[in-house]
């Protein structure tokens, strides 16, 4: 298995829902449970011997079926993901765990249990604050999910198994972070497109298998010549961005994405879960509520999120920040407004973009990014039609 094979597997897993690795897993009798949102502790599934699959709407071209349940002013992410489920694209799932990460995603649960007969469907209750009482709350909710999984799949998630799963996921986080940190270099070893492929694949492949592949990719990156010839170093800040083609359009305009704070990006792995706590469920609760970089749906935590973005801007020598938001997302709307004002005060160029879940309006996207790069670099960027990615 070479790094080239790993890249191919990552690219393939990112651009479809099912993938050959899942097929092989299922053929051996393995179970797969889908989960919405990076706040679901997927270590639990790994500990139960189940493959956790992060829900996406990849490959969707319409929300025709889902729109009988949702409206045009609902977020396009749950609509496309649910549409894929209604089309049978998620039939490989043995279970699905939803969460009230936002009201649009939460409603997938209600619609899912009405429309589909997946054997195991559960909804988690994520608190809205990041203080100690909320750690206790989430601890109890994780314990409930643990019991449900044990009952449904006939497994016992012992403390040892959970410790082992946490160590495996932490090892993945450490390697992903190492790969990210190599992008601080003048010639980063990978593009933003590749970084997103690495991260999305990490939510779609059996984790031990993924770790082997990731090791290949990181090993190759250590000696890679790196990407040159870009016009600006960019950072993407935002939410549910799982589509490398969106990043490709940004990079085709001449800006290299060197880091991010997104739901499939650095926030997944910048911090590690405590491996020492005798109660691993407590470790998980503390990690997800307090320790990992938070998302705007958590109240009162904006200063910490801003500090996280500022640290990355400095660490990766970012020339400009692109803030992406799925249309109608009120969490990110307000967050971007605040972050934009704060970064502008720091003298960091900031561009806020609205998008739909599936790539559309690429002309408008190109215009905005091109103008942004021109403004950063004093109008010296030339864009050719059909420009290739930087990789």
């Amino acid at each position: 298995m070479s790094a080239q094979d790993a890249w191919r597997i990552f690219a393939e897993a990112t651009r479809s829902l099912g993938n050959p690795e899942i097929d092989a897993w299922k053929a051996q009798g393995g179970k797969v449970v889908g989960f919405f949102c990076s706040m679901v502790p997927d270590e639990l599934f790994t500990a139960a011997g189940i493959l956790p699959f992060r829900m996406r709407g990849t490959g969707s071209t319409s929300t025709e079926l889902a729109d009988a349940y949702f409206t045009p002013i609902n977020c396009t992410f749950p609509r496309h993901a649910f549409n894929q489920a209604l089309l049978g694209e998620y039939d490989f799932l043995d279970g699905m765990v939803c969460i009230n990460s936002c009201d649009h995603v939460r409603r997938v649960y209600d619609n899912w249990i009405q429309a589909l007969d997946t054997p195991f469907v559960h909804v988690m209750s994520l608190p809205h604050k990041v203080d100690d009482p909320q750690v206790g709350w989430y601890h109890d909710d994780i314990a409930v999910l643990k019991e449900k999984i044990e009952g449904q799949f006939g497994v016992e998630i012992t403390g040892d198994r959970l410790d082992e799963a946490i160590r495996l996921h932490n090892r993945i986080r450490a390697l992903q972070k190492e790969l990210y940190q190599m992008r601080r270099a003048e010639r980063p070893p990978i593009t933003g497109v590749q970084a997103l492929e690495v991260m999305v694949a990490g939510t779609a492949l059996p984790r031990e298998r993924y770790l082997e592949l990731l090791e290949e990719v990181v090993e190759e990156a250590r000696t890679a010549p790196g990407v040159d010839g870009y016009r600006a170093r960019l950072m993407i800040v935002g939410g549910e961005l799982d589509d490398p083609e969106y990043v490709r359009i940004i990079e085709e305009q001449g800006g290299l994405v060197v880091t991010d704070s997104t739901c499939f990006g650095s926030r997944l792995m910048w911090e590690a879960i405590d491996e020492e706590d005798p109660d691993p469920v407590r470790s998980l609760a503390r990690y997800y509520i307090q320790e990992r970089p938070s998302c705007p749906r958590m109240c009162g935590d904006q200063p910490r999120r801003l500090a996280y973005v500022r640290d990355l801007v400095n660490e990766f020598r970012v020339d400009g920040v692109i803030a992406e938001r799925l249309m109608f997302c009120d969490q990110w709307l307000v967050e971007h407004y605040m972050t934009g004002n704060d970064l502008k005060a720091d003298g960091i160029p900031f561009l806020a973009l609205d998008r739909e879940y599936i790539l559309s309006g690429t002309g408008q996207l190109r215009t905005r990014v091109q103008a942004f790069l021109e403004a950063i670099k004093g109008t010296s960027v030339t864009i050719r039609a059909g420009a290739q990615s930087l990789a």
């Binding site: 249309m327 407004y337 502008k344 806020a352 973009l353 609205d354 739909e356 309006g361 002309g363 408008q364 215009t367 905005r368 091109q370 103008a371 021109e374 403004a375 004093g378 109008t379 960027v381 030339t382 864009i383 050719r384 039609a385």
Partner: protein
């Protein structure tokens, strides 16, 4: 030289020659375009003055702005506007570009494209022009063009066919910040075309200051489709047209004002793009922003093409330096 989109009697905005979805021949362009006739006739007769042998300018450059609704071209000679042309976009951006540039070249008294030292394209069709040396975003170009027309301008509000943008400009004409509407016709030329259709009054009717009623209706829908239904409802309720028209302009002005406040409104403020010709909108914007919009000495619709030409001149001078 300006060609406006033709308005049929019901006010719906029809591209020249009803040519949506097909290419336009030069012959068709003459029909219904006041002001375009002379230039086109001259071009067709081959009678356009050809000054190719006697080139009086050190630097000749072109700027193209191929927008969603109109194509614009500007020819600059040593920093002076020698020719410009505006035309409703055809379904083929290359063809639109060719026609407007040919006409601008002719107005400039030049013979052919070959005489231009450098060409920069902008607008939604900017990537489609094989004979342009380079392309730049319309944000940079509108800022540059508006700043050239009015050096004291610090905020540019560009309202085009399919988007509107507010650009904050530095004292030396560089883009500091910009905000654009997204995925929506509200607050754009398409919105006004749609409203003009609902009111059967034409774009001129919406623009006419005499039509700005004293009691503007509240148009609550930002969505073009729903706003048109809302307007039709008002018409059928017997509301006086001028109050509806004033309401339409006020609703767009309100939306643009919100966008402008995101960037921060620093005087002086200039309007560019096709909708800058809507006097009713300009008046409504002045009321909302509580300031006077500066009157530019040149056609504000060509600001993007002019900016592109100014960048082209920079590029050419950098090349020969």
């Amino acid at each position: 030289m300006v060609l406006e989109p033709v308005l049929d009697e019901c006010g719906s905005c029809t591209p020249a020659g009803n040519g949506a979805g097909r290419d336009l021949g030069p012959d068709e362009l003459t029909a219904g375009h006041n002001g375009g006739l002379t230039a086109l006739a001259a071009g067709q007769n081959g009678g356009g003055a050809t000054l190719t042998s006697n080139r009086p300018f050190g630097t000749l450059v072109g700027g193209l702005d191929i927008g969603s609704a109109t194509g614009k071209a500007v020819v600059l000679g040593d920093g002076e506007i020698l020719g410009s042309f505006v035309l409703a976009s055809t379904a083929n951006p290359r063809q639109t570009a060719q026609i407007v540039m040919d006409q601008a070249i002719e107005e400039a008294g030049l013979g052919s494209l070959d005489e231009l030292d450098y060409i920069v394209s902008t607008g939604y069709g900017r990537l489609q022009i094989p004979w342009a040396n380079e392309n730049l975003s319309e944000i940079s170009c509108h800022a540059r063009g508006a700043h050239w027309m009015g050096p004291t301008v610090r905020t540019v509000i560009d309202i085009g066919g399919q988007d509107c943008k507010v650009i904050s400009v530095s004292p030396d004409g560089k883009v500091l910040e910009f905000v654009m509407n997204d995925r929506c016709a509200a607050g754009t030329g398409r919105f006004f075309e749609s409203m003009a259709r609902g009111l059967c009054c034409g774009l001129d009717g919406i623009s006419d200051l005499a039509n700005q009623g004293p009691e503007p209706c509240s148009i609550s829908h930002q969505c073009t489709v729903f706003a048109e239904s809302e307007v039709v409802t008002l018409v059928n309720e017997g509301v006086e047209l001028p109050n509806i028209i004033a309401g339409i302009n006020r609703s767009v002005a309100s939306r643009i004002t919100s966008m402008a406040r995101r960037v921060g409104v620093i005087p002086e403020v200039a309007l560019t793009g096709g909708c800058s010709k809507n006097a009713g909108l300009a008046a409504a914007l002045e009321a909302k922003l509580n300031l006077s919009v500066v009157t530019l000495p040149n056609d504000p619709q060509i600001a993007g093409a002019l900016g592109a030409a100014l960048f082209a001149a920079d590029k050419h001078l950098a090349q020969v330096a």
